[in-house]
Symmetry: C2
Subunit: 366 residues, 2 copies
């Protein structure tokens, strides 16, 4: 529906690099399997495309947050005659018949979930989530004590994986990881012979103790650095470019944008790009973020507004800064983590906020 000529932003998503990132993680996991977390539209990149690409690359265990997401992705797979397991991290509550109908594997997060599943679908596979330090979802330590005393609560369940989730895996120095590993191992004694899964993206880089049977990377697949402070072992997957709508010669004295937060001090040129916070280019980048045009770093001046952002292009050769020219906003030259740093958030939020007005180009070959 979008006319490429009239698009003010172009989002290129490199499906080859996505698959390559997955292979890279898989190859570092020894004999453990590598799943993929594709919740929230595969972190904003498009879950339908991602599940097909990764399934064809060999991935067989996919994780989403909500039942609706699982229902949609089961249909996507079935339309192209592919099969894979789809796990629902948010659990089975309020599911009606959807889990059964669409062959989805819920993560059981509480004693209530266990009881519900045992009553309704004792034969159907389910995961069990043991909380070891997030205090978000999963069986609490006191729940685990109850299970130790009352093993009939899990008897006869068809357990796919026992899982837990690391809270601080990107910080390889904290003792929290080892504490969570210890708690997880303790909990696993309740489930002899069951497969287990602990590591998220950064967890894969904490060593093979964290591998168990299955890793569940998300962020690293999409180019976020799983080893902050060290070189990023992953490839960038997205490139976001904003189109210049107008270039303006400016003279002192003048202010730019809402709230007049930027004062122009020297003669120069301002380029206005048709991408703003409604496109997920965060307002917190105002007077802080930057792009690249013709290899030159161009800082954001003034506030990012809803549909427009203004860049100082005074240092760019005049013939390169014209209406229609594209400024790189995210991509290999400005990794998503750098944009997130400038915006005061994490790459995850940058990706999941990517908007819907961009022309999206999916690159499927080199």
């Amino acid at each position: 529906m979008k006319d490429p000529n009239s698009s003010a932003g172009i989002l290129t998503i490199d499906m080859v690099e996505l698959a390559r990132n997955w292979q890279r993680l898989k190859s570092s996991l020894n004999n453990a399997d590598c799943g993929a977390v594709i919740k929230a539209e595969a972190y904003g990149l498009g879950a339908g495309r991602a599940i097909i690409q990764l399934c064809q690359a060999g991935c067989k265990e996919f994780f989403v947050a909500l039942i609706d997401e699982g229902v949609y992705l089961r249909k996507v797979l079935s339309d192209v005659s592919l099969e894979a397991n789809i796990h629902i991290l948010g659990g089975p509550m309020f599911a009606g018949q959807a889990l059964e109908e669409h062959n989805l594997i819920p993560v059981l997060n509480s004693l209530e979930d266990l009881a519900l599943w045992k009553r309704k679908h004792p034969q159907a596979p389910a995961d069990i989530h043991v909380d070891t330090g997030m205090a978000r979802l999963g069986l609490s330590p006191s729940d685990v004590v109850i299970l130790q005393k009352e093993p009939q609560r899990i008897k006869g369940l068809n357990i796919a994986y026992v899982i837990s989730h690391l809270a601080c895996s990107e910080d390889s120095k904290t003792t929290m990881n080892a504490d969570q590993l210890k708690s997880f191992r303790q909990a696993l004694t309740l489930f002899p012979g069951c497969k287990a899964s602990l590591a998220n993206s950064s967890g894969i880089f904490l060593g093979d103790k964290y591998f168990f049977n299955l890793a569940r990377p998300g962020a690293a697949l999409y180019g976020i650095n799983p080893t902050p402070g060290k070189p990023n072992p992953m490839s960038q997957v997205i490139k976001l470019q904003g189109k210049i709508l107008q270039v303006r010669e400016v003279n002192v004295p003048q202010t730019v944008g809402y709230g007049a937060t930027h004062q122009i001090k020297e003669k120069g040129r301002i380029a206005t790009v048709g991408v703003g916070y409604a496109d997920g280019y965060p307002r917190s980048l105002s007077n802080k973020g930057f792009g690249f045009l013709g290899g030159v770093r161009v800082p954001i001046v003034g506030r990012v507004s809803m549909d427009l952002t203004t860049f100082d292009v005074s240092n760019v050769p005049k013939q390169l800064a014209h209406p229609g020219a594209l400024i790189d906003l995210i991509g290999p030259i400005i990794p998503v983590d750098d944009v997130a740093d400038a915006a005061g958030t994490i790459g995850y939020e940058i990706l999941t906020s990517l908007g819907h007005r961009y022309q999206r180009i999916y690159k499927t070959s080199n």
Copy 2:
């Protein structure tokens, strides 16, 4: 497609209050007309629904940012046999034939735009945007000087409105507003007999000098306070509720969420809600935002994560804080401006970030 039972977030959009907000602004404009800015999906609420509702309420001038948005909305109107003018703020560049085919009115922002339009569509209506202090889009002061010297550049054009945009209208004390008003009046002498438009939402509250022929409110329509520091004259239009997935009894000592940023000091209860930053509930609310459950203020504890947020519900009666219960996140009890304050942004960014996993309910009668 979304199963209401399985939705983890419910977004109710009150179309009656939207129309009422528009009427309220219109009635304060004396004889000037009241348009509506519905770019970026009507600030995230759904532009297709909004244009029909406001058109039926009497609005005839709609403003969007991009040509794609205009093309879509022309189709929406035509499907229900409604007519209205749709203006494209981003201008006519890169349009191909879309403007003509879909009867869209471009805003001409530069001398190049003027020349393009005069060459291609001299009879078709267009707006002219004079920049008076945003330095974002629009004819610059030096462009205006050129037009004074070379009036043939605008001769014969079918001008719908001459427009400008206020940079600091929400600050009634700054001299910037009067400066922009003065520059706008000066520029208007170039366009005798043409209709003019300056005021955005907050501009309407700066007095009738700012009315001209047409006001272009956006934010106020959607419940954002156009008079910060004074009581909000507008009604709230949206209500966002998050469903509790799990409630956890906690004991000292324990941390909550990613990065272990929240330390539990007392015995209490934590409720995990299935809404996170991938749904546009910003990560910057971590350990700062709050919701309401059963009339009780429940603070966010720990980091907002992608699909989940944890609230301290220790002060809520136990029978009210259970899986399936709804915590109010935005709405009449927590206006969008208050959520934005807690997140360190503006209501506009909260609204345009509203996600796509919610069950959306459009309320069309009282």
